[in-house]
Symmetry: C2
């Protein structure tokens, strides 16, 4: 198994396209052979540092983005809804406090990033689904509790997020993004053979997959009929029982195909390699027969 | 067979992302059940009319676009290469004459749009692959001859392209684009149930397919192993001979699958409906058996 590629995701909860990118990458971290690193940063700092202007300033572009986000949200299955006054939400209220809070949660978390992931998601849900505030301490507290943090963890993060070390950490991550050439979020940095490949936006996943040698299965890989063998799966024993959802490789001789169908209809198959996927389905590779079989575990 | 959906593609050969979108749509016009209408227009007029600024003005964005285009060109299999001085090419020399010339070719062409398609492609090749001029009459003449136009057709288009009716036609198409909410190119307008759905850029094809009820097979559908039945195909006779590249529908009973494999290995199959694709391969639907079979014609 090749070592997992490190993929950094720079995001800010003020950015709706970042939410789409975030959910897709959180889904694919269990499908692709990658190590996803969440990089909460401050979009305002990136816009200022790069001299970029928000796209919504051009009326036609703003109207299009509204429509584009609605369509994408449906296709990506993310409950995104534009707030009543997006300009107030994005440019007057902003996200500096919220991103400092996420940074504080990240600073305190050990052994993974489940809290950072869940707190980010709940902040997005407030601002980009429920049209609720994310600037006040009680707003962050509510989001963090919904994300599953204990009262004491929430309290500690609220104590921490206005401290200088947290302000500096958020600033450093933002400058790190700028050093990669950021001019907006989401920005995804894939480290391939020691070199960073930069992808901006939530519309380069298919290209990204091509560049990192993985397969794009659409925004909902768990819903896809096709499954790929995954480095994150693990072997289970020969002779396992499956139900008969399968795909024959085009090069596979038709006669052997018949035998395989017979084996499958008997609900048993001798496998060289079997991988169980994160979502409970199973992938089988019988590579010596030049055939890939994809099955749902019974 | 449902009636074909009308899809309008607004483009300008000064825009590299338009080239990618153009090639993809020209490929899919033979795969999806659509009627593609080419709408050569003037990007400068759209930028001015919408108050938009070119994305390349932000240094980080410019650097990213250069990289993004190189990667996309490879993935899309379009021979796009940035010219030595893109600013001179795009903003000083521009494309008004070239787009008037394309408009003149379109005005004169009857019974299809092959000339418009080929001339547009050759102009893109000059500016975005070979770093050659597209502003002078001799440049347009060269492109048109390479596109397969006769000397007399080229001469007639050169006579026509500076005329007032052609200037007006280009202006009208550009204003038509603005009336759809354009702020850049490519812009693709899909007419679905009498309503226009607008897609900007060359990164919404998967979403577009979802919206028009078609399937996205990547930027090179002819290279894809999967084939879909196409409204543009036509039936051929029962008992035709095929070679054995096939896909069994997951719901298909495994035992019948065995029989089908046997039929295929005998190189004959009785089909309910057979469609021949534009690229010479053949799709077979045996819908009463609840199965789709995809075959290459022998």
């Amino acid at each position: 198994m090749a070592s997992r590629k490190v993929v950094e995701l720079f995001y800010d909860v003020v950015s709706p396209y970042s939410w789409l990118g975030f959910e897709v990458m959180c889904r694919y971290r269990h499908v692709w052979n990658i190590e996803l690193k969440l990089r909460p940063a401050f979009l305002g700092g990136v816009m200022h540092g790069s001299g970029n202007k928000p796209p919504g300033m051009v009326p036609n572009k703003f109207k299009y983005m509204d429509k584009d986000l609605t369509r994408l949200a449906k296709y990506f299955d993310v409950p995104l809804k534009c707030p009543a006054d997006p300009f107030e939400v994005m440019f007057q209220k902003g996200s500096m406090s919220a991103m400092r809070f996420v940074t504080a949660v990240q600073e305190r978390e050990t052994g993974g990033d489940e809290q950072v992931e869940q707190v980010s998601r709940e902040l997005w849900r407030r601002i980009w689904s429920e049209d609720k505030d994310i600037t006040q301490p009680e707003s962050m507290s509510e989001a963090a509790k919904k994300a599953g943090l204990s009262d004491s963890d929430v309290e500690a993060a609220l104590q921490l997020y206005t401290s200088q070390p947290i302000k500096d950490k958020l600033k450093n991550t933002t400058e790190h993004a700028l050093s990669y050439g950021a001019f907006g979020f989401p920005m995804i940095v894939c480290h391939i053979d020691g070199k960073p490949e930069i992808f901006f936006g939530s519309d380069r996943f298919e290209l990204m997959a091509f560049c990192i040698g993985e397969k794009w299965l659409g925004p909902k890989p768990d819903k896809s009929a096709a499954r790929l063998m995954s480095g994150s799966g693990y072997p289970c024993k020969n002779g396992d029982t499956f139900c008969g959802k399968f795909y024959l490789h085009p090069k596979f001789p038709t006669l052997l195909g018949g035998s395989l169908v017979f084996l499958l209809s008997g609900r048993h198959i001798l496998c060289k390699q079997v991988f169980r996927m994160a979502d409970g389905t199973t992938d089988v590779s019988v590579s010596s027969w030049q055939i890939f079989v994809t099955l749902s575990r019974k």
